[in-house]
Structures are given as structure tokens and as C-alpha cells.
């Protein structure tokens, strides 16, 4: 029995840890935040509520041995606030946004690619290893604060974006496992919804049967959408997460960048070209100016000053003015324009070749992404739950509300009151851990899509044509953790003892397919292909390269991971096809 319930919000830009003592009367109301010790300067350690998700690999001479001392021992790399500051001044040593790399479509999570601009002497590490570094920092902070309650014995929930594919979830889970955690995963928008549930005295009064709730979670770097439906389950009101959006790399940081480039453009017209360090100084100044302008609509303009890096605050400083008009135009029109229901996010023409980096979104309009998502699932939500620091600005809240009302037409829509815009995810995760252990209302949330495996059909050799691949549904939409193993009705041949490639696909809509349904090779375009897996399955007593008759099963483990297994029809041998072993 654990003493604490712990919720870890492993964010793209910031991480936070919340916890609640077990067996308290207040339950969810008693959720506290864990202060996280981190470097704030060389040799100085302070506790902060958030851990910036940045890792910096210092040069050998940059710090003295004594400067790298954390409360739990010597650090190899700098994690947290100091890492972010150092990275802004020195290039080629900082890893950031590692989480977004976990579901990169062309780079494997185990591939050592970060820092992306690494100097020659810096050893690159994989996105999975960065996740492990960040997690272990948080775990160490817990251990120092609660030496008598080892985190390995506690109920831990880690949040992941709803748009994470099964492989990215598995990688996060495995990173947690390597440092001894046995953590459950929960989708971030769902966690924000749990935080709202935790605040309700009686949630059934607030919702009606068949009502859709749209959760809009705009983080620093990502926008995550989820649709939850209130359903009737055996006569009582239940909740079901019915759809999740795709991975949209667009968030609050884009808004600061928009203002920065606007001012940089203005300055360039006046003949001032900004250097790299001035851009980051300008972004910081713009963020502060934006917050002042958005919180006070009567304020006409705010001057933005980037002082020189030298000792003088006045000489060579760069001055610009950000007006209320600029902010409203760039942020409200740029990110929250008026759109019609069903409008699709625009795809900018891409250049044929580009450096390997994250696939940033080309359409900044968050409202258009919402419209595309809702149209795809043909849902008109009547309740909206917002989450993320961006919505701290009242003006942005009212704008998105107006836009959604216009988009949804005559549907009566209510905005739910969020628990806390910045901390709801970690708080909700903690509440979810409590619900798991002590009972309470649960949101049914199975797989967010149908999953298919590519099966080659034999055909006579035709020059220039590869044998066609059909997709067979192995795990249907909504398959829940702990539910019964799904068995495919037909048998297949599996190549063992030889390196083979498996192809995986995911449906784009939330139409439930039955297990074993075949999507023919001609209709494959309607599915999204996931990263292929290249793996050599252990031959056992078979000859290498032999074809074995197998039946396939799929289930979702109690930790929420999709697991595919091939069972030999003639012996007890079985092979697990793991999602994490993927190749770029």
C-alpha cells in the first residue's frame, strides 16, 4: 500500500510534480506541489515549483567539480533553470523539447540525435535518454523530500500528450521503468478534465447524457485536443474519452515568437539587424510586454527594451514599442481567427529538402485546428474546458469562446471553469492516481484509434511492383486497459530468426473497426502509417528464416500500453512485437 499518490506532469517545456497523502479525508482537495531543487547558478541550488525541461552538457572547464553538487549527489549534466539560461548563451550543448521528439515520424526515440546542433565534442543522446534524465531528476527531488517513502513504492501517474502514439507511450513507460518507477500513463487533456472533476461536488449535475466536452490544452510548445462524451452506462451517467487530436506542435511559445519577429521586422526596417542573443532577449521582453497588454486592455502600448550585453544598460540598447493593436492583431487574429465549422488547417508548401528537426505546424490558427478536429469526429461539443498558461489572459479566453460560439452555430455552449490553468494536468494526474486506488468516477479511455498491422499478400512477381500490403485491424478503437485479449480470427505466417520489417497503421477517425477487418492495399491512404519496426524475432526451435504459422493477439496492458503477440499454433512459443523497437 502506498503512502502517497504522485502525479508527474512531464511537459515539453516545464515539468511539475504534485502529490497527495493516501487515506486522507480530504482526498483530492489535499493535493500539494513538490518543490524541485535545481541549479540556479554555478554551485547554487534552489527549490522551484517547476523544472524547466532542459538539459545542458557543459564544457569540461565550464564548472568546478564543487559547482555540480546537487542535494542527492554530483550531477553529470545541468538540468532545469540554469540549463535553459546557459543554452541561450552557448550553442550546441542544450537539449530542449525532447518530448516532442518521442513521436517524431522519421527519427527513432532510441536514436542519439540530441542536441540537434551538437558540437563535435558533445556526445549526442537519444530522446528516450533525455526523458529518463528529466524523470530521474524529479525522482531524486522526491527522494530528498521524502526519504521514508521511496517513490518506487508509491502510486505514480505520468502524463503524456493525448496525441502520443503507442510507441511514444511505451518509451515514456520504459524510461520510468529504468529508474524503478512503475507508473501509469494518463493523457494530458484527460488529466486536466480529472482536475475539473476533482473540484466538482457533484459532476453529474453539470453534464447531460450524450453531451460532448471539448478539452483544449495549449501548452508552451504543443496543442492537444480531446473529446469526452457523457454516456449512459447501465442507467448511470458515465464518461468516455471518444477522440483525441493529432500531435500539433503549436503553443504559447509560438505567440511570443510571433511578437518577437514582428518587432524584429520593424527594427530591421529602421536599419537595426538583431543578433541571435538579441532575439532571445527580445522574446523575453515581448513576453512581459504581452502579459501587461493582455491584462489591461486600456494600455495603448508598452515599450520593449533589450539592453546590451555589456555593462551599460543604456548604451546600445534596442528599443521598440509593442502596441495593443499589434498584440490583438498578431495573437488574436493570428492564432484565434474566425473559422467556419469544418475548415481544414492549411498546409504551407514545403521546401523539398530540410534539416532534420521537429515537424513544426505550418498553420498557426488554433481555432482552425479545433474546427478540423471537430469536423473529423463530427461532434459539436456543448461544454469547453480550457487548459494551459496561455489562457491566463482573459482576452484570449473570451476570444476563443467567441470563435467557438461562431463556429458551432446555434449549439448552446458553456465554458467549464478550469481547476487551475497551469497546474491542472499534474493535479488531475494525482487525482487519477487516487481514483485508481480508492475509487471514484473514471473516464473510460481506451485506444484512441484503430491499429492495423501490414500483411503482405503473396502474388506472382511483377517487375517494378512490390507485393501489395493489406492492413489488418489488430486492436480496435476504445480497447481498454485490462480488457480481454483480442484474438484475430485468421492465422498468419511469421518469419522468425531473420530481420524483418513490420508496418503499422492507425485510423484517422473514431469509427470502430472489428478485429481482423482487412483494409485492402488500395484503400491504405485513408490510414496514417506509423513508424515501421525492424526486428529479428528469436527463432526458438525453428530454423532461421522459417515461416511459422501463428495467431495474433492484442491487448492493452494495465499500464495502458498496446501489446501485440504472435503465438505459435503448434507449440507454446510466442513472440512479442514491441512498439519501441523502431527504426528511423
Amino acid at each position: 500500500m502506498s503512502d502517497y499518490f504522485i502525479g508527474i506532469d512531464l511537459g515539453t517545456t516545464h515539468s511539475a510534480v504534485f502529490y497527495s497523502a493516501a487515506n486522507t479525508e480530504n482526498g483530492a482537495a489535499d493535493i500539494k506541489q513538490l518543490p524541485i531543487a535545481q541549479f540556479t547558478a554555478a554551485g547554487q541550488v534552489a527549490e522551484r515549483p517547476l523544472l524547466p525541461s532542459f538539459v545542458y552538457f557543459p564544457h569540461a572547464t565550464e564548472f568546478l567539480e564543487s559547482d555540480m553538487q546537487l542535494p542527492w549527489g554530483k550531477a553529470d549534466a545541468i538540468v532545469g533553470q540554469l540549463a535553459r539560461e546557459l543554452g541561450a548563451k552557448s550553442s550546441g550543448r542544450l537539449v530542449q523539447s525532447a518530448k516532442s521528439w518521442l513521436c517524431h515520424s522519421r527519427v527513432g526515440a532510441d536514436e542519439a540525435v540530441l542536441p540537434i546542433d551538437a558540437l563535435e565534442e558533445v556526445t549526442k543522446i537519444s530522446p528516450a535518454a533525455v526523458t529518463e534524465t528529466l524523470l530521474s531528476h524529479l525522482v531524486n527531488a522526491w527522494t530528498v523530500a521524502f526519504p521514508d517513502a521511496p517513490i518506487q513504492d508509491q502510486e505514480v501517474v505520468i502524463t503524456v500528450p493525448a496525441s502520443f502514439d503507442p510507441a511514444a507511450r511505451t518509451i515514456t513507460e520504459q524510461a520510468a521503468e529504468r529508474i524503478g518507477l512503475r507508473a501509469r500513463l494518463i493523457e494530458e487533456p484527460l488529466a486536466a478534465f480529472y482536475a475539473w472533476l476533482a473540484d466538482q461536488a457533484s459532476w453529474t449535475d453539470a453534464l447531460e447524457v450524450n453531451e460532448h466536452i471539448l478539452v483544449v490544452d495549449v501548452g508552451g510548445g504543443t496543442t492537444d485536443l480531446s473529446l469526452i462524451q457523457a454516456v449512459e452506462q447501465e442507467g448511470v451517467l458515465g464518461l468516455e474519452r471518444v477522440a483525441v487530436g493529432r500531435h500539433i506542435l503549436l503553443g504559447g511559445d509560438n505567440m511570443d515568437m510571433a511578437l518577437t519577429y514582428h518587432l524584429a521586422g520593424q527594427l530591421a526596417q529602421n536599419g537595426t539587424t538583431l543578433e541571435h542573443w538579441q532575439i532571445s532577449g527580445l522574446t523575453q521582453a515581448c513576453r512581459e510586454a504581452k502579459e501587461r497588454l493582455l491584462s489591461n486592455a486600456d494600455l495603448a502600448d508598452v515599450s520593449v527594451v533589450v539592453p546590451s550585453r555589456g555593462r551599460s544598460l543604456f548604451n546600445n540598447s534596442i528599443k521598440a514599442t509593442l502596441t495593443q493593436g499589434d498584440v490583438q492583431q498578431l495573437l488574436l487574429q493570428g492564432f484565434f481567427p474566425e473559422v467556419a465549422f469544418g475548415e481544414q488547417a492549411q498546409k504551407a508548401p514545403r521546401s523539398g529538402i530540410s534539416t532534420i528537426n521537429l515537424d513544426y505546424e505550418s498553420d498557426p490558427a488554433i481555432t482552425r485546428h479545433i474546427s478540423e478536429f471537430l469536423a473529423q469526429h463530427q461532434a459539436k461539443p456543448t461544454k469547453i474546458l480550457l487548459n494551459g498558461g496561455v489562457f491566463n489572459a482573459g482576452l484570449i479566453r473570451t476570444t476563443i469562446e467567441t470563435r467557438l460560439r461562431a463556429m458551432l452555430g446555434d449549439v448552446e455552449m458553456t465554458m467549464l471553469t478550469p481547476s487551475h490553468l497551469d497546474h491542472a494536468v499534474a493535479k488531475g494526474a494525482t487525482y487519477y492516481a487516487v481514483v485508481q486506488a480508492e475509487g471514484g468516477v473514471k473516464v473510460k479511455s481506451g485506444l484512441a484509434a484503430n491499429y492495423y498491422i501490414g500483411v503482405a499478400s503473396p502474388m506472382p512477381a511483377i517487375p517494378g511492383m512490390a507485393p501489395p500490403v493489406d492492413a489488418v485491424c489488430v486492436a480496435p478503437f476504445g480497447l481498454e486497459e485490462g480488457s480481454e485479449e483480442q484474438m484475430l480470427p485468421n492465422e498468419f505466417s511469421l518469419v522468425v530468426g531473420e530481420s524483418v520489417t513490420f508496418r503499422f497503421f492507425q485510423s484517422q477517425d473514431s469509427q470502430v473497426d472489428s478485429v481482423g477487418k482487412v483494409i485492402s492495399s488500395f484503400a491504405l491512404a485513408q490510414l496514417t502509417e506509423l513508424n515501421p519496426i525492424s526486428v529479428q524475432l528469436d527463432a526458438g526451435h525453428y530454423q532461421e528464416g522459417e515461416m511459422v504459422r501463428v495467431y495474433l493477439t492484442a491487448r492493452v496492458t494495465e499500464l495502458g500500453l498496446l501489446l501485440l503477440q504472435a503465438h505459435d499454433t503448434k507449440s507454446d512459443l510466442h513472440w512479442t512485437i514491441e512498439f519501441q523497437v523502431r527504426e528511423a
Binding site: 547554487q44 551599460s312 543604456f314
Partner: protein, 197 residues
Amino acid sequence: MSQKITSMSFIPRFFGAFGQFFKYMGSGDYAARCSAVGKGEVLAFEAEPKVITKEIEVIREVEVAAPVLDTVNEDGAHQLLQLLQHEARFIDFIQESIDGYDDADVGAAARQIHAGCAKVIKQHFTIDVVNSAPENSRIEVPADYDAKQIKLEGRVEGVGPYAGTLIHPGWKVTSTQLPKVSSTDNLTILAPAEIEV
């Protein structure tokens, strides 16, 4: 009395008397002792011990060190300056003459410095007022007030309680959370020289 003399019976007394005659005749010292006993003096072991008590007053002078002025820990002061320079470029601002710049320039810089300093103070200290009454309100001060917390000003006389107007509510630190340091060497380096290579 530590011992009692027991009386002798007649026979040993009769024979003893002859022995005593010669002993008496032979020793002047012995004869003198016997005559003393005959006069009624008691032997030492028969006598009641007498306790003599006498109170003496001892006056000892204890030397108390006079309060001397001590310096507070300098490390904390250096660390605070480091933090103010790091977040608000406070030292840069103070070390530069602002005479040559107009109010708008100084004002713009002051905003940034204000934001930075406020961040440092908020992050590392919890600060509260000493007296939470509104400024300019009438305040009663008891006779035994704490002179560290309250400063009486104006016509201060008599023994109190005192009544007066609250001019400034005062400030106090209720908690401090300064960064921990692994070594207090070189805390005098408020900011390292930055060299871009």
C-alpha cells in the same frame, strides 16, 4: 557523646587502688591528670561535640562583557547582490551614471530592473508588514512595546501606553529561502566576466 564510662565493682577497685598509689607517686603528669578528673573535668570522648556556625558574607565581582558591534555574515550579502545582478542587472544599473540619460530612458530601464528585483525578492523572501493597520490610522502602543518592532517618533515622553498615528507599517521577513551553495569561496564574484568564443 561517643563513649560511656561504666563503673567498676569493689574487688578490682580494692586491688587497683594499690597500683594507682604507686602510679600516682611515680608520675607527676599522671597525678596532675588524676587531680583534674577529681575536680570534675570530663574526658574528651565523653564530651558532647559543639557545632560552631558562623555566617560569612562573600562578595564576588563578576565581569560582564560590554556589547560590542559585530559584522553580520558577508556571504549572505554577496549572494543577494549576485541574485540582484543576475535577475535585474542591479549592479550594472547602480555602477552606471544616469546623469546623461533622459527620464524616458531611465524609466524604461527602471521597469526592467523593478521586475527583476521584484522576482528576486518574491522568490527568496516572504515579506509582510509589521503592523497591518492602514497608514494614518490611530494606534495604541502598550508601555512595554518591543522597540525593535515599533519606533516611536515625535514628542516621546512619559511611561505609556502611547497613542499615535501609523506613519509606516514597517516590513519584516517571515521566511527566507536563499539558494544553497556548495562552496562559499568566491561569493565575492558577483558576476563572472563573459567572453564569447
